[in-house]
């Protein structure tokens, strides 16, 4: 995040801890899917790539809008999608001792968690934060103050995770609303992201040099993640249809042959 002090060291430490912790815990859980471990490591790598190296350094992120947008795509969109798909909560529930796992499960069912993990709330927290960052003085303020920039980055990652979790993923989500609500919120969030990208193309945040390419990057770079989210919602719908057909068919009868099995 900055060349002053120990921030890169801290980030490196946190990223490595997240990777090693998941590996250690997953190795203790029988038949934990390898794909989830791979997605976790890729997600953690995306976080590292956004915060370390040329993208995360001052003179990079803080002053080059393109680098900052690239950071947003990695830290706020790609990493959360990968991390949520890696089912960290399920892993924790499987690995924790019985009593603690039940505490965690109860926490997930609680009212505050229900509120913050509602797609509309999560979308507003995530995309709303981005609007504040790019349309107010916050960007210039954060660029000049490393601690504030760290908070901005942390918010990007957490809000992105919350939004991805509110929509998709294998982790238990007792409050998750139906597919229609989630798809509707996602369309609105994608639209808000797209409008913000166009505005960024037309005008940089206050106090920052114009850079239309940043807006284009934000628009086109986000597309793969947006499409991936739609595809994951579609897969969930298709699996539901398949389950309904199986329930409807009498036990023991051959159902229509399926072309593919997930």
């Amino acid at each position: 995040m900055t060349h002053h002090g120990s921030a890169p060291l801290l980030v490196t430490g946190l990223v490595l801890t997240a990777a090693v912790a998941y590996l250690v815990v997953a190795s203790g859980v029988p038949r934990w899917p390898v794909g989830r471990t791979v997605r976790w490591l890729l997600g953690v790598a995306a976080v590292g790539a956004a915060l370390l190296g040329p993208l995360g350094s001052v003179g990079g992120a803080a002053h080059d809008l393109r680098a900052h947008v690239a950071g947003h795509l990695l830290l706020g969109m790609l990493a959360p999608l990968l991390l949520v798909s890696a089912a960290p909560v399920t892993l924790a529930l499987r690995a924790l001792p019985h009593r603690r796992a039940r505490v965690l499960a109860r926490l997930l069912r609680s009212r505050p968690v229900a509120v913050v993990t509602h797609p509309a709330v999560a979308a507003l927290t995530d995309v709303g934060g981005l609007w504040l960052l790019y349309r107010t003085d916050l960007y210039a303020l954060a660029a000049a103050r490393p601690p504030l920039l760290a908070v901005v980055h942390l918010h990007m990652l957490l809000a992105g995770y919350l939004f991805a979790f509110s929509l998709i993923g294998p982790d238990p989500a007792p409050h998750r609303p139906g597919l229609a609500v989630r798809a509707g919120v996602l369309v609105l969030a994608v639209a808000a992201h797209d409008v913000l990208a166009k505005l960024l193309y037309a005008a940089p945040p206050p106090g920052v040099a114009p850079m239309p390419e940043a807006g284009m990057l934000m628009h086109y770079g986000a597309l793969p993640v947006h499409v991936a989210l739609f595809v994951l919602l579609g897969r969930e719908w298709a699996a539901g249809q398949e389950r309904a057909r199986r329930r409807a068919a009498p036990v023991g009868t051959a159902i229509i042959p399926r072309t593919s099995e997930p």
């Binding site: 994608v190 409008v195 166009k198 284009m216 579609g234 057909r245 399926r258 072309t259």
Partner: protein
């Protein structure tokens, strides 16, 4: 017969296709359209953003609908085509009339006399739409549903 679902799947992909052609051909290949010409109204910008978002949802949703229809062996090509033509024509006409002209979001091309471009654009859209509605009515008769 799944008449509604076949039609909906076609319409969604039609909308997605029209939006994709708009993006790929007119923005990326010809460079006639501009990413954002800074002259748009706010409502135009929001309309464009919503359509961009919805067109991707529509494309993905349609592919899952078709896959599911095929899995239960109720995919009906002509009905799907009826929906596709209606969706593509409808979106194209909306883009040509409302987004280009009413909202002034962006024009088809810059630095030229727009009249012939607008005419061709909207005639193609209307032709697709008319063909789509015609085929919808025809397939509905074929399914012996009340018109």
């Amino acid at each position: 017969m799944r008449t509604g679902r076949n039609l909906a799947a076609g319409a969604l992909l039609g909308l997605g296709t029209a939006a994709f052609v708009d993006e790929a051909v007119f923005h990326q290949i010809l460079h006639w359209h501009h990413f954002y010409d800074r002259a748009s109204s706010d409502v135009g910008l929001v309309s464009d953003g919503l359509f961009h978002a919805f067109s991707w949802f529509a494309t993905v949703a349609s592919l899952f609908l078709v896959s599911d229809l095929r899995r239960e062996r109720s995919f009906w090509g002509r009905r799907f085509l009826a929906g596709w033509l209606t969706g593509a024509g409808g979106f194209q006409l909306y883009d040509g009339v409302v987004q280009h002209k009413v909202f002034g979001l962006h024009q088809i091309r810059y630095g030229v006399d727009l009249a012939p471009y607008d005419t061709v654009w909207n005639l193609v859209a209307a032709a697709l739409l008319v063909a789509g509605v015609g085929l919808t009515v025809a397939t509905r008769r074929a399914a012996r549903l009340p018109v």
